[in-house]
């Protein structure tokens, strides 16, 4: 996993609540057996005017000019601003894969769906929860100022706005440590293999019917 430390990135606003995983990456693109290459199909049904097919080269497809991420001013955005309950729906990790492959490294919103939130951290994508008021202000500033950027510092747990104001955000210490270092959590867990084996042996003795 790519480590995440500090990002100074362009911000794009997606002013919708309940953006679901089917919107982030429609199911016809889940047939790939790889982890990469989902970016061109991120938000496919909102982003293009035609119906996309898996495996299709998206570079020549007609873009929907009304979709906010297609506006020239948001090209190259690495920070996505969004509303409540982003990532609701499926557990498909293709959703964070698509966002990461599109170029996003940070998502900012008032709330995220649980499974999506968890999946994001596993892929070097930092979801940040701020208060509804803070998110409202970011939307207003972002929409009013072309080239609007934010500086996200994971170690300090801060977001710095262009006007100099600094916002603090919360993140679990364990997730933070993993993301800062780009650690593979399987490797971390396997350090406790003896404890897992001991637990398993005890469980097997107490409840043999779970081990049939």
């Amino acid at each position: 996993m790519k480590p995440f430390t500090i990002l100074d990135g362009l911000v794009a606003p997606l002013d919708r609540a309940n953006v679901d995983t089917d919107a982030i990456i429609p199911k016809q693109f889940l047939k790939s057996i790889k982890r990469s290459g989902f970016g061109p199909n991120a938000f496919d049904e909102w982003r293009y005017l035609d119906v996309g097919q898996p495996g299709q080269d998206c570079s020549g497809r007609p873009l929907n000019p009304d979709f906010v991420l297609n506006q020239p001013r948001y090209q190259g955005a690495q920070i996505l601003l969004t509303r409540d309950n982003f990532g609701c729906g499926s557990s498909r990790e293709h959703a964070p894969w698509a966002l990461e492959d599109y170029g996003f490294r940070v998502l900012i919103g008032p709330s995220f769906a649980d499974i999506f939130y968890n999946n994001s951290f596993k892929n070097g994508l930092l979801p940040i929860r701020l208060t509804a008021v803070e998110v409202d202000e970011l939307f207003a500033q972002c929409e009013a100022n072309e080239g609007y950027r934010l500086v996200v510092d994971l170690a300090a747990q801060t977001i710095t706005r262009p006007d100099g104001k600094t916002l603090h955000f919360e993140v679990d210490p364990f997730r933070k440590e993993c993301l800062l270092n780009g650690w593979d959590d399987i490797g971390l867990t396997l350090r406790h293999a003896d404890e897992i084996r001991a637990f398993e042996a005890k469980r097997r003795a107490e409840h043999p019917y779970y081990f049939a």
């Binding site: 309940n18 557990s91 499974i115 892929n123 679990d172 364990f174 406790h192 409840h207």
Partner: protein, 469 residues
């Protein structure tokens, strides 16, 4: 000892170790695997030179991509076929407790086959790379969906890194009216608490109306806990649970059964256990439900009307409603019963079990598909459900009505195979998500119970199933 909730009992019995910040390593008893979210996990394992920890925890099947007709032709779509073949190769190489490949007589939707084979048992932790894994909580398990990185983590370590959830009790007391089903209960719950209402919580469903439900009904409810934002939904163990599990292929037998049952009977919330949140509904007040928008919380009763965004003050919500109505092609204040449908889908991990098919058949019997309905798909949840339905003659009722009787699979719940809506088509669906494009790009989904779906199929529009004579 302090009174504990069911969730607390399940949680504490699986903690291997805990970090200072509360992140815990949780032991996983059952790992359900399907073709869409597992290939990258097996590949990751292989690349890192790791072996699966305990393959006897794995129960696998192909369901999302598989066709539901013309099985003799195999899987025509080459991309789908590759995914199913990859699953096949991975499971055959790793080994498993059970594998029900494409066309196997016990193949089916992963959340149908686990319980019907007794591979989902009370007291287990059950995970799967699929958000509707919450279904299995109906058996007094801690069951939830995981992402592919976590699938790989469970394969490699038999554990998951988790933080303890908050607890919510959704209590439904009283008796359901005739024609009102588990699906209506859960849609009413989502309408009440919203699609993010359960975020951060594990929901236990309780109260006399839940205890009166069959295991099929409880699975329908727990299945949609995720649509209320909760990763896990659950119901305490009682005699209904135990009776269902007796003599299933992977259920314990003889002395092991007695020992298991003695433990399982403890898997309910203690009297006086404290929940972080309690929501109460009266069963008598629940009416047949129909969703009108693009989120399961956008739901009303069949005698209701499409709401008017103009009446909503919150701008984000108002615009969300307006966008949903535009996508759905609906005008505010339209009576729900005046909405005509083009297709009907009876199936999915929410509503494809034998009881669901019986409910749909009871409404369909002696009636035929309305002329304006282009297609009615009835897709049983598994090969076993299909054969049971055929023994009961349900398929003849569906076929006589002009419905299609298909092979098992996820089918048009998410339209990864050939079963889908055309742009602009409207569907009465017994599935769980009415998201934009879910059943096909541009398709419009209304979530309903199996009885309500059958009623829409034979009348051509939504209708209160209780008014059909």
């Amino acid at each position: 000892m302090e009174a504990q909730t069911l969730y607390e009992k399940l949680w504490s019995s699986h903690v291997v170790r805990e970090e200072a910040d509360g992140t815990a390593l949780i032991y996983i008893d059952r790992h359900l695997v399907h073709e869409v979210t597992s290939p990258q996990a097996f590949e990751g394992l292989k690349l890192a030179g790791r072996k699966p920890w305990r393959t006897s925890s794995i129960v696998a099947t192909a369901d999302h991509n598989t066709p539901t007709d013309h099985w003799e032709l195999g899987i025509q779509d080459p991309v789908s076929r590759q995914q199913v073949e990859t699953l096949d190769a991975n499971i055959r190489a790793s080994g498993s407790l059970a594998y029900f490949p494409f066309m196997d007589e016990r193949q089916g939707i992963v959340h149908v086959i686990g319980p019907e084979n007794g591979a989902t048992l009370p007291g287990m932790t059950v995970v799967c790379g699929d958000s509707h894994t919450s279904t299995h909580g109906a058996f007094g398990c801690l069951a939830h969906g995981i992402g592919t990185s976590e699938v790989e983590h469970v394969l490699a370590t038999q554990c998951l890194l988790q933080k303890k959830s908050k607890t919510m009790l959704v209590k439904v007391e009283g008796r359901l009216g005739l024609g009102v089903t588990a699906k209506d209960i859960v849609l009413a719950i989502i309408g009440r608490i919203g699609t993010a209402g359960g975020t951060g919580y594990a929901i236990e469903f309780g109260g006399s109306a839940i205890r009166a439900l069959s295991m099929e009904g409880r699975m329908t409810i727990c299945n949609m806990a995720i649509e209320a934002g909760a990763r896990a939904g659950m119901v305490g163990v009682d005699e209904t649970t135990i009776a269902y599990l007796k003599d299933r292929p992977f259920s314990p037998e003889d002395e092991a059964w007695d020992r298991a049952v003695a433990y399982w009977r403890t898997l309910r919330s203690d009297d006086g256990a404290q929940f972080d949140k309690v929501v109460e509904l009266s069963a008598e007040e629940i009416q047949p439900q129909v969703t009108w928008g693009t989120s399961p919380e956008m739901v009303t009763t069949v005698d209701g009307r499409v709401p008017d965004p103009a009446a909503v003050t919150d701008p984000v919500r108002r615009e969300g409603m307006a966008r949903a109505l535009k996508y759905m092609g609906l005008e505010p204040n339209t009576p729900i019963t005046e909405i005509a449908v083009d297709q009907v889908f009876i199936g999915s991990c929410t509503n494809s079990r034998i009881e669901d098919l019986r409910e749909a058949a009871a409404v369909t019997k002696g009636r035929t598909k309305a002329a304006n309905v282009r297609r009615v798909l009835v897709v049983p949840g598994s090969g076993l459900v299909k054969r049971q339905a055929e023994r009961e003659g349900l398929h003849e009722i569906f076929l006589a009505a002009g419905f299609e009787w298909r092979e098992p699979g996820c089918s048009m719940c998410l339209a990864m195979n050939a079963d889908r809506l055309e742009p602009g088509e409207r569907c009465a669906s017994t599935s769980n998500r009415n998201f934009e494009g879910r059943q096909g790009a541009g398709g419009r989904t209304h979530l309903v119970s199996p009885a309500m779906a059958a009623a829409a199929a034979v009348t051509g529009h939504f209708v209160d199933v209780r008014t059909l004579d």
